[in-house]
């Protein structure tokens, strides 16, 4: 049974083909790095597989179930969480409210949500995660008052609240100082050790080569290589895509 599989995924914006039939698989328990030059279609791929964009062709499977064009909220309930390239929070809510918001919709029905059942358990979980991410002291702060790095950590915390099986991270290290970047990488590795599967877009080559067990490389909407990091580093097509031939 495949865990998460993308088959011949296509996306066009009028004449521009952003994804020209991309296929690959994410294996359960791995960290898969998705790299490629700017404009190669990485974020478009994330948007397509999470239902934020309608695909033009191809299929997406999660645990052998076809989830192509599923709405983001349905996919979230199945256990797929994602972050965005630019931090996406609820800016006027506190850190704690952001965390609670990230889990409430995956519990119960819309009617039970009219009564605040299960909030204490969620609060306890949020506190644990905030401590794990070293931002526990900020729990009552308004999210928009946090530094960018702290917002990134909160972003990661939110995606972990509902215990997704697959976590899609879109440039988790972008705009973050080196020590915080190390901190984030350490957290991802630790979570991976706890059986969380990650699909990560990242431009920091050193970091992605270090943390990912396999890499998929996109260029102009096509997959040009996939394999172990050490092999990707020597792949001619990859070097050409990044440095020009």
């Amino acid at each position: 049974m495949s865990f998460f599989r993308i088959n011949n995924l296509k996306k066009s914006f009028y004449d521009l083909q952003a994804l020209a039939g991309v296929s690959f698989e994410v294996k359960e328990g791995e960290i898969l790095g998705l790299i490629g030059p700017n404009g190669s279609g990485k974020t478009t791929l994330f948007n397509c597989v999470t239902g934020m964009l309608k695909v033009s062709g191809g299929e997406v499977f999660f645990r052998s179930r076809e989830v192509t064009n599923y709405k983001p909220h349905s996919l979230y309930k199945l256990g797929v969480g994602r972050t965005f390239q630019l931090v996406q929070l609820f800016p006027e809510m506190t850190v704690m409210e952001n965390m609670l918001m990230a889990i409430q919709e995956s519990q119960g029905s819309i009617w039970t949500r009219l009564f605040s059942i299960g909030e204490e358990e969620n609060r306890r979980k949020a506190l644990e995660l905030l401590e794990f991410l070293d931002i526990l002291h900020l729990k009552d702060q308004i999210a928009e008052n946090l530094s960018y790095g702290q917002q990134k950590l909160l972003d990661l915390g939110m995606v972990l609240m509902s215990d997704p099986e697959l976590v899609l991270l879109d440039e988790p290290l972008a705009g973050v100082n080196p020590s915080l970047a190390n901190n984030i990488l350490k957290r991802i590795s630790e979570l991976n050790g706890r059986d969380k599967t990650f699909l990560i877009i990242e431009h920091n080559m050193e970091a992605v080569m270090d943390i990912a067990s396999r890499i998929v490389v996109l260029d102009h909407g096509e997959k040009i290589a996939q394999g172990r990091p050490e092999r990707i580093q020597e792949d001619e097509l990859v070097l050409e895509a990044y440095f020009g031939g």
């Binding site: 934020m52 709405k71 979230y76 969480g81 996406q88 006027e92 809510m93 918001m101 919709e105 949500r113």
Partner: protein
């Protein structure tokens, strides 16, 4: 049944809000004119509370809110004039507003901001045209006369004072319900949609369900307030619910403070009482009123409720207790 502590808190807040409102005639006096004005303010508070749910909390712009007041008013008037008793007519008015509100909420899944404003504005215009043109049903521009106030057990509501407390009791119920809703997970989901729709969707928020709910509930409040308005006036005509009335409701909410529970109380009070206070200035009153409103919007974009919060924080050096924002 033992209520959870948090629910007791909302009921207590609701009682405090409403007590503050009801006490007004005790200060200004029970003259027919003041009672009429106070009742009108309470009715508009109910309507603006609904607008606050749709626009203030869930962030869905609507310029058709007055149409729902019209729907409520006409439903109650048409049915009671045809022999229905008040309660079923009033319930049906609420139900129709709720359902039409839900239908108006449907386009919100595809259109946003200014475009949504136009869609709702269009709805408001259609309802206004319906009220003016369907003469057999609505009486057209002549309106509908002779709407009777109901009797509760042996208590007649024909006296203005009894009617004032009758309307205030609705305010109490709807305030408690509003506080409960906005402090539930629904309230948080509404705010999530307002603050970041993209992220809301990605943390599992069903945008369609919550947007439709925000419109439906807001419209229900408007419909019920419209029903009460018909009883207050005992006469209704389409010109009570033109498209511009929706703008007035919007001004009330923005001046009061959108997305702040107290905003729906302060806004109608200020917007409806201020012209009365400025009456002595004769021709200038509208200019002064507009200037004061503009001043509030420029210096306190979070409205008078926001200003109140800031002042409280400055004086007591802590957040105002019991806020629902």
């Amino acid at each position: 049944m033992q209520l959870p502590a948090s629910n007791k808190k909302y009921i207590l807040s609701a009682v405090l809000y409403v007590a503050a409102v009801i006490s007004v005639p005790f200060f200004v006096g029970f003259s027919p004119y003041y009672l009429y004005l106070s009742t009108l303010v309470v009715i508009y508070i109910i309507s603006v509370m609904g607008l606050n749910i749709t626009l203030g909390y869930a962030g869905q712009i609507t310029l058709g809110h007055a149409a729902f007041m019209g729907i409520g008013a006409y439903t109650v008037s048409i049915l009671t004039l045809r022999g229905w008793s008040f309660w079923p007519a009033f319930l049906l008015a609420g139900l129709i507003s709720l359902l039409l509100g839900a239908i108006i909420g449907l386009p919100a899944i595809r259109v946003k901001d200014h475009y949504l404003a136009f869609v709702t504005l269009g709805f408001g215009s259609i309802i206004f045209l319906f009220m003016t043109n369907e003469e057999e049903l609505t009486g057209g521009f002549r309106g509908l006369y002779g709407i009777e106030r109901p009797q509760i057990f042996s208590l007649s509501l024909s006296s203005d004072r009894a009617f004032y407390f009758f309307v205030a009791s609705f305010l109490l119920i709807l305030t408690a319900a509003g506080l409960w809703l906005l402090n539930s997970k629904w309230g948080r989901a509404f705010k999530a949609i307002r603050e970041n729709e993209k992220r809301a969707e990605m943390v599992g928020v069903n945008l369609l369900a919550y947007k439709v709910a925000a419109f439906a509930i807001g419209s229900l409040y408007a419909g019920l307030s419209g029903g009460l308005l018909a009883l207050l006036m005992r006469f209704i005509e389409p010109t009570s619910f033109p498209v511009t009335e929706s703008f007035w409701l919007l001004i009330m909410l923005v001046v009061g403070g959108r997305g702040r529970f107290e905003g729906a109380f302060i806004g109608p009070l200020v917007v409806m009482v201020l012209p009365e206070l400025l009456r002595g200035t004769e021709g200038l009153y509208f200019v002064l009123f507009s200037l004061i409103s503009l001043f509030i919007l420029i210096f306190w974009p979070s409205g008078l409720a926001g200003l109140l919060e800031t002042l409280f924080e400055k004086v007591f050096d802590r957040e105002m207790p019991g806020l629902t924002k």
